[in-house]
């Protein structure tokens, strides 16, 4: 899976075989994350514009949002980031078993987050009648948080496939760059949620 294994051993952040000194996979991930920032920036802008200019029959978000549930899922996602960071640290030190446990807990936390989001969406639709086509607020809210949820789902699938791969004989410390790249994606999902949590949820309770 990694063909530059010799370069990884000395310092996991360096790869002397590339012109930049940065492992190509990591560089690719950073470029992708930079572009994904702009993608989420557009979705957040759209949501904010329609929140600043709400429709007359707009639903009151403070009456439908469950602040404690969202805070709990935020905390779970932050702790999943801790486990992901530990998983990267463990594989860089060659502690494969510890890495597997850290990855498994990260997946578990990711699934809890997705479960909370599913429960929240279900509650919005069936308890409050807030659907993606029912109002502009519903459209921008579900598009933004749903896109983030899909990112989390992709992350969970990626983590699971990597966890399964870690049990094969081909997996070794040389694959640390793959785990680190996956970790970058997972942490990005976390930082996007940090912004969404403040902008979409918390600021609603201030106005």
């Amino acid at each position: 899976m990694s063909n530059h294994s010799t370069a990884v051993t000395a310092d996991p952040h360096l790869d002397p075989t590339t012109s930049t000194g940065i492992p190509n996979k990591k560089l690719l991930l950073w470029a992708f994350l930079a572009s994904d920032c702009m993608f989420f920036g557009c979705l957040i802008s759209t949501h904010l514009i329609y929140r600043l200019h709400p429709a007359p029959d707009n639903i009151d978000p403070t009456k439908v949002f469950n602040l404690w549930l969202t805070s709990g899922s935020t905390f779970v996602l932050l702790m999943s980031s801790l486990m992901m960071a530990l998983a990267v640290n463990f594989i860089q030190k060659g502690r494969i078993v510890a890495m597997r446990w850290a990855l498994a807990i990260t997946i578990f936390f990711g699934l809890i987050f997705l479960g909370c989001q599913f429960y929240e969406f279900h509650n919005f639709v069936y308890e409050h009648g807030m659907t993606i086509t029912g109002s502009i607020f519903g459209t921008t809210f579900f598009t933004l948080t749903g896109t983030h949820g899909i990112h989390v789902l992709i992350g969970v699938i990626w983590l699971t496939s990597m966890l399964i791969y870690s049990f094969s004989d081909r997996f070794s410390k040389a694959d640390a760059i793959d785990i680190e790249s996956m970790g970058l994606y997972w942490h990005f999902v976390d930082i996007v949620w940090i912004v969404i949590f403040t902008v979409v949820y918390l600021l609603e309770f201030v106005r």
Partner: protein
């Protein structure tokens, strides 16, 4: 750009495994505490601008802690930081500009409360005159 990457391996304690693990756990605790504080801010008896400022600062601190510590930007090459900040700056600029563009009266969405009530207000003003 390359110097900081090569120097930390020599003696930076935070880069060794026990130091790094401890650092990650401390950062996670700080992130958890900040999240709790964010909820606490909503119930604090302060004026809204102060509350908004506190929430924004907390959010920025959490964001920075994750990208620099968990995502290793602190130890990585500067180029990675610049690459990410480039995307982040463009995204922040897009958000800022779009919000300001839509503050202009003619750009207010037609579905908004302001757009729908504006003609009625104009009629009322003209009748009074």
């Amino acid at each position: 750009m390359t110097s900081h990457s090569s120097t930390h391996a020599a003696g930076d304690d935070s880069h060794s495994e026990p130091g790094r693990v401890k650092l990650f756990v401390i950062i996670a605790l700080i992130l958890g505490i900040i999240t709790a504080l964010e909820i606490g801010v909503l119930f604090m008896p302060v004026i809204d601008p102060v509350r908004i400022a506190m929430l924004v600062v907390f959010s920025i601190v959490k964001f920075a802690l994750v990208i620099f510590i968990f995502m290793h930007l602190k130890w990585d090459r500067l180029f990675c930081t610049l690459l990410f900040l480039m995307g982040l700056s463009l995204a922040s600029g897009t958000v800022t500009i779009l919000i300001h563009v839509f503050k202009v009266k003619d750009s207010v969405p037609l579905t908004s409360h302001a757009s729908i009530t504006a003609p009625a207000q104009l009629d009322a003003v003209s009748r009074t005159a």
